[in-house]
Symmetry: D2
Subunit: 162 residues, 4 copies
Amino acid sequence: MSDDAILEVPERSGTVDIDSAITGAQFERLVREHMGESSRFSFRVEELRRGHCRIRLHFDKAQLRPGGTIAGPVMFTLADTVLYAMTMSVAGLEPLAVTTDLTLHFLRKPGPVDLIGVGRLLKASGRRLMGDVAIFSDGEERPVAHATGAYALPPRSATESS
Amino acid sequence: MSDDAILEVPERSGTVDIDSAITGAQFERLVREHMGESSRFSFRVEELRRGHCRIRLHFDKAQLRPGGTIAGPVMFTLADTVLYAMTMSVAGLEPLAVTTDLTLHFLRKPGPVDLIGVGRLLKASGRRLMGDVAIFSDGEERPVAHATGAYALPPRSATESS
Amino acid sequence: MSDDAILEVPERSGTVDIDSAITGAQFERLVREHMGESSRFSFRVEELRRGHCRIRLHFDKAQLRPGGTIAGPVMFTLADTVLYAMTMSVAGLEPLAVTTDLTLHFLRKPGPVDLIGVGRLLKASGRRLMGDVAIFSDGEERPVAHATGAYALPPRSATESS
Amino acid sequence: MSDDAILEVPERSGTVDIDSAITGAQFERLVREHMGESSRFSFRVEELRRGHCRIRLHFDKAQLRPGGTIAGPVMFTLADTVLYAMTMSVAGLEPLAVTTDLTLHFLRKPGPVDLIGVGRLLKASGRRLMGDVAIFSDGEERPVAHATGAYALPPRSATESS
């Protein structure tokens, strides 16, 4: 059985920052300045549209685990970062938005190259947003992992007073 | 915040049974003949291609729960049925394939109309297949639920001897 | 490799309705009167304490799927019902509480006997509750399925006006 | 609504390495020697029994995210590490065992202290193991996160030849 009819990595649309409440550059800066752990990784927002996001995570040898594949927590970090960016593409700068749940399926062993996370929001009404993220190895057609997850925005009063 | 940039229900491609290891009609017959619980629901395979499937679940008042929305188990049944059909679109008739895990997110309250499940496989190599399913209310643009899940094929010897 | 060190079915505590905001009998009545789909199944609340619940789902031949095991949607229904009862054990009668997400892992094939769902809440503050449910086949020590999931209570104003 | 009936952090049993196929010290050494990313964190196996594991992750300022709470990927890493240790408590040294899926629910914001992950296997037969992990902040009674996930052992031939 082969994988010949499976979801393939989408083309880059070439559009950037269209209709998004923040720009990719703003998001990169926010993560660099505020995040502890995640900021160790070097990444670039390749696309950010309202409800859509594509992020490239640059490969680093520290990401490897036994067997020469990229470790699970690295893929979690990428998926979570894509969801965080999509949340802000709709809600604006909300650094205190938090993940409420995240489900990851690991599909193939990613080799020692960049990872690309491609996400879409599935719900963005109210204070809870939900989306999914397909993760690809650069140069490969088939996803190496898939995530679904939700973000909650802080209560409005908390936002207003912060 | 509005939902104006969210995944929309895809157009029907009009193609049916393309490149699939079984036809939609074969799948409908298998479920009708073999499944207990699920077969109470009336459904139609609107598309079945290798790794892709679209199923319409006909509305029935017995599907409602308090508040007038369709009950969660009904959406679970539809998601699971789409994954089952996609599994066979690649693996052929494998009635003993089993769900290993399924994650459902409920996004909006579906009104008393048909549900449409649109699925795609994300992995189909080996004996384990994984995919996702977006569920829509007929006539609505935004998904009411989203599922990811995996199926395992029975060990080959079991298949050969059955 | 054997399963000799795995979670076993807990003893019934013998205590019922302790510290719970509703009684098991109240919950059974609510489901019987209001739920469409779920009420087809016959079940009994064997324990309901604040944040804990044990429900027995009576076996019925209609629950079977190919291979003679109980179908996935039946286990989903049981898990969801246990979460619903635990929600009300803390929040009181809230028939409009809704599932926001549910993750099911299927572990063993349940034979044609009663299923027992044993749940515990993991979070019950705010308007969102989260818990897990282990599902056992009557007479077997090891779980046949495991679920985690969350319920959201309706906004307070909606509750007050209903 | 208060959290007064929720799962509390279990007492340490005081037993270590009972009936486990590897010792906690062996596991700590394996992670230190082989894992890239994960080994940046300092952790201690406080208990390792067959199908049960308790690991303490030492707090480090690099783990924080905006708002002063510990970042999601850190909790993912702890949950995944507990599942990895429990897998080896049953299967022996299997560094090439891989996560197939992991679902995380975030329940409370963990303050700047050690995290404690307490896991139990729910299935350990065959080549696929499944378990759950409750994560606590040191000194707090209620869990801050909950994970369920599965590990797959490499095919036997791969193991034998490695």
